[in-house]
């Protein structure tokens, strides 16, 4: 590669490519300090996909933007450690950050129409990203590369479409163009923030397939952020469930989906109708509303909405924050809950509902 990035990006040991350790993000506002993300830790290996699930305000986007370095340093308090390929991100100068961004990691946003510049042709926007990281490349190379990338993401007649403006693209094609833009410098780490939420299911299926294909070809690590558990189920190897700015459950996709260990995850799974579920049964909603991040609840962030606080002795849930520790299901499945055996308690509740 002709880019002048020094060889700081080689993993020092066999550490996973992305390691987030005890990340805390706070925003000072007129109303007080917003605790957007608190004590978040996770890691992603090359070629793997981590799905981050949570509702709006759970901190899933804020934590990812911290990794890509998109927060305004003057208005954000970030602490903890983020290592991308062995490089510590936090405290890195904007200049160094810019070299990493695009080269080592890139981000796909939800709203492609807002993320693409309306006044520049799609091809030119792609080429600009390539030129920024390949100073030796000519404009002609960059344009050729842009067309090749558009072709790779499945845009028909890429050489002509590269001369179109974003508004001339359909929603699915815009999303493809943005994926092409993110991948033009072969980043090793890709953040996809609700990349298919604005799309129709048939187009969503196309984009999900495309991302899986690209991951197979490039071996990149993907962090996939969404509130749609179905999409996570299709895409992710591992799942991180966030609530109120904290990780509340972390494990392999199959384990979290089939044996949730935390009442919030369980509640999410119970509250969505499925294509095969019994339609005479009522949905079991999670009561209440998401917590305020200005004044997070004491103890477990989920306790005001949890059905199972009565199963925990005393007022432990209100007083004490449970640690994110392995449950009974094995060391790789972490959960933040005071229940001794959440799976059993929740299975009993589900059985009661069916009676």
């Amino acid at each position: 590669m002709s880019s002048p990035v020094e060889d700081v990006t080689r993993p020092a040991s066999d550490e996973p490519f992305l390691v987030v350790d005890d990340l805390t993000v706070k925003f000072p506002t007129a109303d007080g300090l917003v605790h957007a993300v608190t004590g978040l830790s996770y890691s992603v290996e090359m070629g793997k996909t981590l799905g981050i699930v949570g509702e709006s305000g759970s901190g899933k986007s804020v934590s990812s933007m911290a990794v890509v370095g998109l927060h305004d340093a003057k208005r954000t308090h970030i602490s903890g450690s983020i290592r991308v390929g062995g490089t510590e991100i936090i405290g890195l100068s904007e200049q160094r950050m810019r070299r990493l961004r695009g080269n080592e990691m890139a981000m796909i946003f939800q709203d492609a129409l807002a993320a693409l510049h309306p006044f520049y042709r799609v091809g030119a926007q792609l080429a600009e990203g390539y030129l920024a990281h390949h100073p030796d490349a000519t404009k002609r190379d960059a344009n050729a590369k842009a067309v090749a990338m558009l072709d790779r993401v499945g845009i028909p007649q890429p050489d002509q479409r590269a001369r179109d403006y974003p508004h001339q693209f359909s929603g699915g094609m815009r999303q493809r163009a943005m994926i092409a833009m993110a991948l033009i410098n072969d980043p090793k780490l890709l953040f996809a923030d609700e990349p298919t939420t604005a799309l129709d299911v048939t187009v969503q299926a196309q984009i999900l397939d495309l991302l899986q294909d690209l991951q197979r070809d490039f071996g990149s690590a993907i962090v996939f952020i969404t509130h749609d558990l179905g999409v996570i189920a299709e895409m992710a190897d591992d799942v991180l469930v966030m609530y109120g700015g904290r990780a509340v459950e972390l494990g392999s996709c199959a384990a979290v989906m089939s044996k949730p260990q935390m009442p919030y995850t369980w509640g999410l799974l119970e509250s969505i109708p499925e294509l095969v579920s019994d339609t005479t049964k009522r949905l079991l909603p999670i009561p209440g509303t998401p917590p305020s991040l200005l004044h997070p609840p004491t103890g477990c962030p989920f306790h005001p909405r949890c059905r199972f606080t009565g199963d925990v002795p005393g007022d432990l849930c209100e007083r004490e924050l449970p640690d994110l520790v392995p449950g009974l299901e094995g060391a790789s499945h972490l959960r933040r809950c005071h229940l001794r055996n959440p799976a059993e308690t929740m299975a009993n509740a589900a059985a009661r509902k069916e009676v």
Partner: protein, 370 residues
């Protein structure tokens, strides 16, 4: 009016559930050949009409009293336009909307007035559909005042009753919408729609703007209210799992036309139209991860074509793996297949068979290559 038995207007007149008949034995809502075109005008002074966006093009269906019909399809297929034409927010280009024996289609806004309270709407976006400068009491109370359904001094007690009904604190009538969360706002919208005790409610994507954990609350609320007041609901949504849960009957739209309609079991268990099959296969499902392994998807190419210039014949043919010559020349009628009340508009309607899909796809690709 006695429509021939094989047209779409016959949908749902079967008595399988046995409960959903209005007093005169007719369905509550009978939509027939509903058409809504939007003119496309040229730039410049003359503003000549240069084309028509065929948003809804000959849609027929019926909804019985207290029943819900789900309307699904991709964006741009005309499901929202259909809902808006039914409330006469848009004037229909042609066709009839029989509501309890009255055709709403030709009515002027003034003539429409007494019927407005029978058809109410719940909107998708709880942020833009409530006036930020009005209190909740004013928002929910306005329909009561406009239609003078209760004496002026009884408006407030009725508003509080409605707020309680949708699970909000009746003491909050003096608050403004910005003091409520998204789910609570949607409840305000539901209370407003409920105020006039409508016979038909049009719910246009009522939960898609809400967080997953809140969606179930609102769906359960709608279910309870529908049962309690026997309101018919036209449930417009793109989330097929939610529609399956809520609606015993489902109509699938594509580019302004209904391509398949039937009861829940027919659509989700035995879909015959390739578009329905593709739509169902595209939904990511949690169950997949629980049992491990991934399901085979039907890959639809490209996007929905422009409704200004829709494909000839069958409108789905440009994305269909089964398309033959006949599909380009003849538009398939919506006819009954198998079970009563299960209709599909396809020349090659049959249950999905992956072998046929793969073979047809391979053949088409080979033809394209040569």
């Amino acid at each position: 009016m006695a429509p021939p038995p094989e047209t779409a207007s016959d949908v749902g007149t079967s008595t399988d559930s046995g409960s959903s008949w209005s007093s005169n034995g007719k369905p509550l809502l009978e939509v027939k050949d509903l058409v809504k075109y939007f003119p496309v005008k040229s730039a410049g002074l003359m503003r000549r009409v240069v084309g028509q966006v065929q948003a809804v093009d000959g849609v027929s269906f019926t909804v019985n009293k207290g029943e819900s019909l789900g309307l699904v399809g991709e964006s741009g297929c005309g499901k929202t336009t259909t809902g808006r034409v039914l409330t006469k927010l848009y004037e229909p280009t042609s066709g009839s909307i029989m509501l309890d024996g009255t055709d709403l289609a030709p009515l002027s806004p003034k003539q429409m007035m007494p019927f407005r309270k029978d058809v109410q709407m719940i909107f998708q976006d709880p942020y833009t559909s409530l006036n930020p400068r009005h209190t909740v009491g004013a928002i929910v109370g306005t329909p009561l005042r406009v239609h003078s359904v209760v004496p002026r001094d009884k408006v407030l007690p009725r508003v509080q009753e409605l707020l309680e009904l949708v699970g909000l604190n009746p003491e909050h009538y003096n608050r403004y919408p910005n003091e409520f969360s998204g789910g609570q706002r949607q409840r305000i919208g539901i209370a407003r729609a409920l105020a006039l005790q409508p016979k038909l409610m049009i719910a246009d994507e009522p939960v898609s703007a809400l967080d997953v954990s809140i969606q179930a609350q609102v769906i359960n609320l709608l279910e309870d209210l529908q049962k309690e007041f026997e309101i018919a609901v036209l449930f417009i949504a793109h989330d097929l799992a939610v529609v399956r849960h809520f609606c015993p009957k489902i109509a699938v739209m594509y580019l302004g036309k209904i391509v398949e309609v039937g009861d829940r079991e027919s659509i989700y268990g035995n879909a015959h139209h390739p578009y329905t099959q593709a739509l169902l296969s595209a939904i990511p499902d949690v169950k997949q991860a629980q049992i491990g392994g991934r399901r085979e998807r039907i890959h639809l190419e490209g996007d929905v074509p422009s409704p200004i210039n829709p494909p000839s014949g069958c409108r789905f043919r440009t994305r269909c793996w089964k398309a033959q010559e006949i599909c380009a020349t003849q538009e398939p009628p919506l006819v009954q297949i198998g079970k009563e009340g299960h209709l599909a508009a396809c020349h090659f309607a049959e249950p999905y068979d992956s072998a046929i899909h793969d073979a047809a796809k391979a053949q088409r690709e080979a033809a394209k290559a040569s």
